[in-house]
């Protein structure tokens, strides 16, 4: 692959991921609206929100680390997208595997934590404390999914994992070859999105939106950008591991929407867990399902 095409791919991939993410955010908001018997926002609303926030006249910063935090969150997700293959583009996936991707996904969280830390607002710090505890929760089933996929496909290279599934048709998709793991993965995806019942670290009525308490203007705008990346990444990773990725966007996009539909829809039905309850639930259910899935994979080998 020449330098030109590499440069083109690493530019296009974050852009496409962002656009798709906006679409998924729109879908999420429309689903919630329909379930609450509202019309929901117009098509471009997610984009308008970001533009509005970036264009605010009053922007408040608590210092350089506050700024750096937002830069790390956005920049971190831009990097993540370069390693997550999308139809027709592998980007830098040959230089960093699934494990690298999983750890790159933690960098934005660290950036967020740093930025919020400097705001010197206990609500924000409590939010980060809860967010990191939640990460300790969902990353265990998430890593079980990763080790299962790596064991099943015999590689941690994402393009190879996709090729293995696309070569043999639907029968070789992860969702067929490791159905129990697919369930654990879907639950984990929901937990990772930090929507009800797992939005302990936002908890508006309790800790004043937690990490977002001191965020306004372009700081909040940055977080809105990241939300688009986040939902895209969660959906795309699930599609890659369990649904064979996509040979074209016509195949990839419906799969993404299908994956994210369930978490988006059921989140509306729930109230919020208490911080410790959520952690315990995640260690109990998705982790147990994932362990069962892993055991099945090893038994079959």
């Amino acid at each position: 692959m020449g330098w030109g095409s590499v440069l083109l791919e690493v530019t296009l991939m974050p852009l496409l991921a962002f656009a798709t993410g906006l679409l998924l955010v729109l879908m999420m908001r429309r689903i919630r609206a329909r379930l609450e018997r509202r019309v929901g926002p117009p098509f471009f609303q997610p984009l308008y929100d970001i533009l509005k926030l970036y264009g605010k006249r009053v922007q408040i910063s608590h210092g350089f680390i506050h700024d750096l935090g937002i830069i790390m969150v956005v920049g971190g997700y831009i990097t993540v997208e370069m390693y997550l293959p999308m139809p027709g583009m592998d980007g830098l996936a040959a230089h960093g595997d699934l494990i690298t991707l999983a750890y790159l996904m933690m960098v934005p969280s660290l950036g967020m934590a740093l930025g919020v830390g400097q705001c010197a607002n206990p609500n924000g710090s409590i939010g980060i404390s809860r967010a990191l505890m939640a990460m300790l929760g969902y990353d265990i089933p998430f890593m079980l999914v990763i080790v299962a996929a790596a064991t099943l496909y015999g590689t941690t290279s994402l393009p190879d994992i996709i090729a293995a599934q696309q070569g043999g048709g639907m029968a070789t998709w992860g969702v067929v070859t490791m159905p129990v793991m697919a369930i654990a993965g879907l639950v984990t995806t929901h937990v990772m999105l930090a929507k009800e019942p797992f939005e302990t670290y936002v908890a508006p009525a309790e800790i004043a939106t937690g990490p977002m308490v001191e965020m306004g203007g372009k700081f909040m705008g940055g977080l809105f950008v990241v939300q688009a990346f986040q939902v895209y990444t969660a959906g795309a990773l699930y599609t890659t591991l369990f649904l064979g990725g996509g040979t074209s966007w016509l195949e990839f996009l419906p799969k993404l929407c299908a994956v994210m539909f369930l978490p988006f829809a059921i989140t509306v039905l729930f109230p919020r867990f208490k911080a410790g309850e959520g952690l315990l639930w995640v260690w109990k259910w998705p982790t147990a399902i994932a362990l069962l899935g892993l055991a099945l994979i090893y038994l079959r080998r």
Binding site: V74, Y83, H95, M143, A150, S157, G276
Partner: protein, 625 residues
């Protein structure tokens, strides 16, 4: 005189000079320079080491018929490099401003430098010993030198150092017993005789050998359940001393394990050693000991409220990764484990330096008494940031590369549960180090810290250099892996086919040059997007949302105490102080036995004791005939 003789002589001269000029203000500067020269002498041997040719010493003794000699092998060279690097950094840090401050608060910087020099000499002797007698003597020297460094602060530190000493002496005796076992079997103390004796050993003897050597070395490494001494002893050592101890001292235990159990005995021998009544082998046992050493101390670190204790507990946990990688026995895992020794030394020293800088300025390392120092001590903050990213094992720092290699090895060798254990350790570390940096540098700046300045250059420069190494060896891990390949060859392990950026394979690759460059690129785009959004107004920390209340300088608006309450609550039932209980039970048992013995032969019934002893002696001797 061989280059090794020159190095050892130079090390001894450093010790003697430090001893004679310890009261002079320039003592620290001189020793730093001398360590620098030693490091140069070591690098001078690198070509020979790279080709796997050991550098022998011209000096050898004959003690009671035992030949004692020394040689610098690739394994020894790798550990010596870290030792001398840590010595240069620690001595430099302690040399001027910190030393004066330490003297003003009643400490003796000269004694600290002498203790450091003792450590370096004894460690170099240990690393270069080429026979079991030299190994044991220098092992004991290392233990006592560590004790000297730990106890140099006086007060409570002495109590913790004595705690260490009890463990160290017990460990030393275990090693001695192991050596005696070898001697009985072969009548020689040479490494070759040791290797030759192993083939004829029964499984029971092999277990005994593993437990004696492994247990003895595990004490120094702080492997579970022999870890209780370490955190307190290291944390109470004065600043640069704790950095040195945390960086390399406990790794001497790993060196012992590598030398005796991996190189001489060979891991394959233990793979065939099955634990009675179970399907597990001795290697599985070691791997799980390593896994628990990762998890439990990491979560104990998470509960600490003192920055130095927190780091010291993480030091124990990180040792688990090294052992876990090595016992996998494949190219990836062992390279990861060995590389982690280097990586850990770099970021751990930087972290201890950063914490010591804060102690130097504020007088405390209590995580509930600090906050907001980033605006006052930005260099120390940056060093800590780079250090914690390394410690947590996230890209782009070097800690990620060694952990990646270990993760890959665990997956490929089919150990998913060990992989999850390693991941849990990493996650716990992320939580813990965020608490560390948040409670010290982020959040609200206290009124009494308003006028604090950054630590002086003599302290910040070593930090900056170490942080640069943490980043550079994360960017180009091939630089370190280049030193590890000859070590793997020497240990009889498969050699990692590394690249400058990491490792290439169809089963999963890592090229840190791409990863780090893309991260920097991503951050650059993030920065452009951020700064394109117009100018932000900087506000005072008290200009903050407080639910309608107004904040003033007297209001503490900081979240630091019990940082992860839900986790503490969930984990509380798991903390039953079982290891403390085990230790105190052992102590009580020994006390009871010694009191009983003393009671008999000292005062109560001396004649009865004599009679019993005579009867036993008669039975032993008389029964034989």
């Amino acid at each position: 005189m061989t280059p090794l003789d020159a190095l050892l002589a130079l090390s001894l001269v450093t010790l003697l000079l430090t001893l004679s000029c310890r009261h002079q203000v320039w003592c620290g500067v001189l020793t730093t320079l001398l360590y620098g020269v030693q490091l140069m002498a070591l690098l001078f041997m690198s070509t020979s080491i790279h080709y796997g040719v050991p550098v022998p010493s011209g000096v050898h003794f004959n003690v009671l018929g035992f030949e004692m000699h020394w040689a610098m092998t690739p394994l020894a060279w790798f550990f010596a490099l870290i030792t001398l690097g840590a010595a240069v950094a620690s001595s430099w840090y302690a040399s001027t401003s910190w030393g004066r401050h330490y003297a003003a608060t009643g400490g003796s910087p000269g004694l600290l430098q002498v203790a450091l020099a003792c450590n370096v000499v004894s460690m170099l002797l240990l690393l270069c010993s080429a026979d079991l007698l030299g190994l044991f003597i220098s092992w004991e020297l290392v233990s006592w030198a560590s004790f000297l460094l730990m106890a140099s602060a006086g007060g409570a530190a002495v109590r913790h150092a004595l705690h260490y000493l009890v463990y160290a002496v017990a460990g030393g005796m275990a090693v001695l017993a192991g050596i005696a076992l070898v001697y009985v079997a072969t009548g020689s103390l040479s490494f070759d005789a040791f290797v030759a004796s192993l083939s004829g050993l029964s499984a029971g003897r092999l277990w005994l050998l593993l437990l004696l050597f492994g247990g003895g070395f595990a004490v120094k490494m702080g492997l579970l359940p022999l870890h209780l001494w370490q955190a307190r002893a290291y944390a109470d050592t004065p600043g640069p001393g704790s950095a040195f101890l945390g960086a390399i001292s406990s790794r001497m235990g790993l060196f012992g394990i590598l030398l005796v159990l991996v190189q001489l005995a060979g891991l394959a021998r233990f793979a065939g050693l099955v634990l009675p009544l179970t399907p597990f082998t001795a290697l599985d046992l070691l791997a799980w000991v390593a896994a628990f050493t990762i998890i439990l101390p990491t979560f104990t670190a998470l509960r600490q409220t003192d920055a130095r204790r927190l780091l010291a507990w993480h030091g124990i946990g990180q040792g688990g990764y090294m052992l876990l990688g090595v016992v996998m026995g494949d190219a990836l895992g062992s390279a990861g484990g060995l590389m982690h020794v280097f990586n850990h030394a770099t970021y751990q020293a930087a972290l201890f330096f950063s914490v010591s800088a804060v102690v130097y300025r504020t007088g405390t390392s209590d995580l509930d008494q600090l906050g907001g120092l980033v605006t006052r001590m930005p260099i120390s903050f940056t060093a800590m940031l780079i250090g914690i990213i390394g410690l947590a094992g996230l890209p782009p720092m070097n800690g990620f590369v060694s952990k990646w290699l270990i993760y890959q090895s665990l997956i490929r060798e089919g150990h998913p549960l060990l992989f999850i254990a390693a991941v849990i350790g990493t996650l716990g570390t992320i939580l813990s180090v965020y608490k560390l940096i948040h409670n010290m540098f982020l959040g609200q700046l206290r009124v009494e810290h308003e006028h604090i300045r950054e630590a002086p250059w003599s302290m910040t420069l070593p930090m900056i250099l170490l942080s640069a190494v943490v980043f550079a060896t994360g960017y180009l891990p091939g630089l370190v892996l280049r030193w590890i390949a000859p070590v793997q060859r020497e240990l009889g392990l498969p050699v990692l086919d590394y690249t400058l950026g990491g490792y290439q394979s169809t089963a999963g690759s890592l090229d840190m040059i791409w990863v780090v460059t893309s991260m920097l690129g991503g951050f650059a785009i993030g920065a452009v997007l951020f700064y394109a959004g117009g100018r932000a107004r900087r506000v005072h920390q008290l200009d903050n949302y407080a639910g309608g209340h107004f904040l003033d300088a007297a209001t503490r608006y900081q979240y630091s105490y019990n940082f992860y309450p839900a986790l503490t609550r969930l984990a509380a039932p798991l903390y039953r102080d079982s290891f403390q209980w085990l230790e105190s039970a052992l102590v009580s048992m020994l006390q009871l036995a010694s009191a009983g013995a003393q009671g008999i032969y000292r005062s109560v019934h001396p004649s009865l004791y004599l009679l019993a002893a005579a009867v036993i002696a008669w039975l032993v001797w008389g029964g034989g005939h």
